[in-house]
Amino acid sequence: MQVIMEKLTKHFGETKAVQDFSVTLNDGELVCLLGPSGCGKSTVLNMLSGIIPVTSGKIYFDGEDVTKLPPEQRGIGLVFQNYALYPHMTVMGNITFPLEIQKVPPAEREARAREIAELVHMGNLLGRKPKQLSGGQQQRVAIARALVKNPRLLLLDEPLSNLDARLRLEMREEIRRIQLETQVTTIFVTHDQEEAMSISDHIVLMKDGFLQQHAAPQELYNQPANQFVADFLGNPPINNFPGKVAGDDFVMADGSRVTLGLSGKVPEGTEVNLSVRAESFVVESEQQPDRLTCTVDSVFQMGKEEMAILSFGGVHFRAYIASEYGFKPGDTVVLGLKDRGVFVFDLKTGERYI
């Protein structure tokens, strides 16, 4: 199902949880709603499900305006962070409950529940109570319960945050598998960028209630719309060098400069951040104006590569360096910049120039 949110806004009294949020999601996609804690992800989800009314704006499901529709008429499956299983019912009871409400005959209910339980690999535990299940199993039941009535849209609010690291990895692949098998349009809320990068078709990145960028994971990483997006994605985080634009050059407070061909692209004298991903440095042999002469602070072995902490213009930063060079703390290194993963952002507005 295609989902359109148009200028969606939600205020809780003084708090502006979501503002002017406009996004279009395509049928059959898995979209991650990503952002730091408190940025309004759950609020967006709750407005989609109809749990909370919108302050202004519109929601369309397949072209139909559902903004005022009560939750039960929206055809949505919900999975909460704490799974919200009915503790007094068995797994079977939990999965069949939505069908029971819809007055589906008992035999059909069971058949459908069994089918969906197989899909989430819970077919052999139908008689258990939620208390007797592990976190991952509870989560599967919650997904099965949300899927059993064939929702048009599946909403998952941080479904993995209660699980340990390994199970999280496993379950996110499970969720992706189930989503691909059922082809249900899915919105997955998370504040874990790695989780979002690994399973989604598209990522919607939010901050303070505003949409920052809506793009495919790689595009988000390679073409961040602004400083926030660049900072939020990537591990290790992107390196930021604050400075000024002087002609073609980028100049830092202590006079260190790099020639980047900035004139015409960035207004003269603008205060900017030169942001470079750790993997976007290359070791060069001789100094040139478009290269950085840095000092090595420390070096960590990381498999076939080394992660070095260096300083340039008084700023410490991280860079991946092939280990064949064997640098030691105190050495001087000349680093060139690759085309990819090098950006220039306005220091104040975060707007991207390059």
Binding site: E72, Q81, A84, H88, F97, I101
Partner: protein
């Protein structure tokens, strides 16, 4: 007997047998008394059983010596407390089985001469319509507890789940009403009952007791502890408030509800002052009121009085014996003060 803590964590099969045997011996005391009429043999069986029970408990929990001493002291205190609590009931039961002559022995005897002497009960049922009282009590309790439970569930749901303006203020107002003592309400309640034309009927006993702020408060607290995710999952699935309440909330709150029902039933069963005010006819009395009336009729025949008391109290005791676990669990969960 003095072992390492780890070793004693296991329970031994022998111990289980010992435990069972001790209870069997204690239980055997009663039939011995009733059928063999030999109170010394019964006493011996009982004491032997009790001794074995203590032994098996000690064997089961024999950690090191100090915890053992602490355990003994604890049990002694508990047993003492139990005796203090149980003695009046024992005395009532014992007296109800004595004859008029036995009652007047001095010093008084601990046990009746004949444990199967149910003569007093027969007389009690002949002298006053206790069966009728009993029925009245049951009807009153069922009526008032039934309706109270229903209204309590609905109110607790409204105050915990539904959102409406002034909800918290309204609830605070209700809570503050709890400070008005029942005695103050008696006059207005009485007038209402008379105006309704139900004076001297069982309705008069039920109608004023069909809601309870206190139980609403307890249940509301419990309902609030149920995560809202359950509610919204159900709502998104098309579940109505009504269905959600009865299919999800009430089953989850069952332990709390059972406690509420039991406490309420007990209060209702024991209520005395109100029936005294609104019931005139002999045949509409409830048990406690009937018992009170009976006292004035039989005067100094304490053995009859004790038999009547036994009839009055026994149903509640039986109820509590059966629902002990539920009550304890409910009290622990709902945070009701004992």
């Amino acid at each position: 007997m003095i072992k390492q803590p780890q070793a004693s964590q296991k329970s031994y099969p022998l111990n289980g047998a010992l435990f069972a045997l001790s209870w069997a011996l204690m239980a055997a005391a009663l039939p011995i008394l009733l059928f063999l009429q030999n109170k010394w043999l019964a006493l011996a069986a009982f004491l032997m059983g009790a001794g074995l029970l203590i032994l098996s408990l000690l064997l089961d929990h024999s950690y090191t010596l100090r915890p053992l001493a602490a355990r003994i002291i604890r049990y002694v205190l508990l047993v003492f407390g139990m005796l203090v609590m149980v003695f009046p009931f024992f005395w009532m039961l014992s007296s109800s089985l004595k004859t008029y002559n036995e009652m007047n022995y001095f010093p008084p005897t601990m046990f009746p001469q004949n444990w199967a002497n149910f003569e007093n009960f027969k007389i009690v049922f002949e002298k006053a319509p206790f069966a009728r009282y009993f029925l009245n009590s049951v009807i009153t309790v069922l009526g008032s507890v039934g309706v109270t439970t229903f209204t309590t569930i609905l109110a607790a749901f409204a105050f915990s789940r539904l959102e409406f303006r002034g909800r918290e203020i309204l609830f605070s107002l209700l809570l503050s009403m709890m400070m008005v003592p029942f005695e103050m309400l008696v006059i207005t309640n009485f007038q209402t009952i008379v105006k309704l034309g139900v004076y001297d009927t069982l309705y008069a006993l039920i109608i004023p007791f069909t809601s309870s702020i206190f139980y609403t408060y307890i249940l509301r607290n419990f309902f609030q502890s149920i995560p809202s995710g359950l509610y919204w999952s159900a709502r998104v699935d098309g579940c109505t408030n009504w269905k959600y309440l009865w299919k999800v909330m009430v089953p989850i709150a069952r332990p709390s509800l059972v406690t509420i029902v039991l406490l309420n039933a007990l209060a209702s069963w024991n209520s005395f002052m109100w029936p005294l005010l609104v019931i005139k006819s002999d045949l509409r009395r409830t048990l406690p009121f009937g018992l009170y009336h009976f006292t004035t009729e039989v005067g100094a025949n304490f053995e009859l009085l004790m038999a009547a008391s036994t009839v009055t109290v026994l149903p509640m005791i039986i109820l509590f014996l059966f629902a002990r676990k539920q009550i304890i669990r409910g009290v622990a969960r709902g945070g009701i003060k004992g």
